[in-house]
Symmetry: C2
Subunit: 306 residues, 2 copies
């Protein structure tokens, strides 16, 4: 069975929270694993509101140090502590985030009852941050007013499901079956080549999710997010605010759609909306004109990554 892979949006506003939109935070779920990407103010309340089992989160990824992307972190870490958490937690984020956290815990005299590991991200080059048997998480550089990274969650190849009827006719040795299950062709002692493509059930392509917020319009992102099943890309402004977007290192909806198109992603999820847009239909229309498979992120909604 193919594991669930999805993202739940907890907040989709840009810096100023208005119209009930909360600052950036989202939970990526792969099977039973929960990853938190960004943690704006109020994230712990949003996790409760949308009934996310936040105690299961073991990895938190912070894109950059503008407040709307991390100000909920110390509250969440404190509540974990008060709730008696013992499970380790790793935070991946830019230089300075550990200083911000430890400064606050020093003044509040807080000693965590669980191991908290901080791993500094690299805003200059792509890096593998984490992997387990099922998926990998990468960071990659983005261009914003502060050191910033995007994140990509990539499914790893699963063992192949082999076609039993065909295998029975071949009576291959264990090592041959293992090779095939791990996706490699196998040549037997008599020199016959047994191909995965013939002996394994076809499988859907590997899925991936990419997160790009905040960033100026940057075609060099395309190489990091190529073919993503779902791309969350900031679309702070519409094209009528193009100059403002450039000035503040943000992206317009049209530009986000152009990135999605160039990277041949399957779906584009728009977010990080400026407070100047009470109504987001213009953002959506502008993105769809350049990339039809565009959707507006909604708080509390879960989007399948497939």
């Amino acid at each position: 069975m193919i594991p669930d892979f999805e993202v739940t949006i907890l907040g989709n506003t840009s810096s100023i929270p208005v119209y009930g939109r909360n600052p950036t935070a989202q939970v990526v779920r792969y099977d039973q694993h929960l990853l938190l990407i960004d943690c704006g103010e109020g994230t712990q309340m949003q996790l409760k509101k949308f009934k996310v089992k936040s105690s299961k989160i073991e990895h938190i990824f912070i894109s950059h140090l503008h407040g709307d992307h991390y100000l909920g972190l110390v509250g969440l870490l404190s509540s974990y502590n008060l709730n008696g958490r013992t499970k380790p937690l790793t935070i991946y984020g830019p230089q300075g985030l550990d200083d911000i956290i430890t400064t606050q815990f020093r003044w509040s005299n807080t000693r965590l009852g669980y191991p908290l590991v901080f791993r500094q991200t690299n805003p200059e080059a792509e890096e593998l941050l984490f992997e387990n048997q099922k998926f990998k998480v990468f960071s990659f550089p983005m261009k914003h007013r502060l050191p910033t990274t995007g994140f990509r969650v990539e499914e790893k190849p699963r063992p192949k499901s082999l076609i039993k009827e065909k295998l029975l006719l071949l009576s291959l040795p264990i090592e041959g079956i293992k090779k095939l299950r791990f996706g490699e062709d196998y040549r037997d002692a008599e020199g016959n080549l047994h191909r995965v493509s013939e002996l394994a059930h076809p499988e859907p392509p590997l899925r991936s999710y990419a997160f790009c917020s905040d960033t100026i319009y940057d075609p060099s992102l395309v190489s990091y997010i190529q073919g993503a099943s779902l791309l969350y890309h900031e679309s702070t402004f519409m094209d009528d605010q193009l100059e403002r977007a450039k000035l503040t290192f943000h992206t317009t909806a049209r530009e986000a759609a152009q990135i999605a198109k160039a990277a041949r992603v399957e779906r584009l999820l728009l977010g990080h909306f400026s407070s100047r847009y009470p109504d987001l239909s213009g953002i959506l229309a502008e993105a769809k004109a350049a990339f039809e498979n565009s959707i507006l992120s909604q708080q509390g909604e879960t989007y399948s990554i497939s």
Copy 2:
């Protein structure tokens, strides 16, 4: 006309936000002046939700450095900046709060467009923090796990409203009328004493509001909050958790009511409720048994201070 004097509750949970209860924050309004007391995570959203004109806030008072009392501060200060605030803002709080704020603004490369003044409170003795023509704000020491102060907002005597009919019969000089208006008796050139008590309309007694959260049960607080029109006192627990209250330097509802009774306040507003109480009726009943004029604070509700 007597100016409005009231408090709006933005959050009334203790450390863990549950059941839709937010961390501590409240707005005291005296006439057109707004004061913010404590600023837990999500305060800027609560200010919007309850339609408080937050741009009018010029003074913020932080009781102590547990996250549930200040984590919304940097977000609020940032949003003021993004909204183009130029009006000065003064923050009164414990040692360390300026370090916490400047550490975060340093990493986010934030330069405020408005003057931000930090004034350190004294957790050892009562102090006058601020006064204008209409009211004074004091801090006073409380006993908690960190250096903590309570706050008291005290109305100042208003000019007396003199009884015109009586004055007309006396034809007093200007300096005599001034003295009477400022509440002093006046002796004229012939040696006659003109008494305020006879020449001025009677006025309601001066009003005051006291904020006590967080604190262990502490009878020494009584001297600082004596006769308050309204006392907000934490009642984190009920009496069945008395040992836990002592251990964590918090107060039970019965104890809060005893403080209210000993201080002869007019009304007791209960708050800072532990996440162990989804239903607060037990808290209210326990307080009322010791002090009838007890009420449960409700988020978004405004309570008259009179």
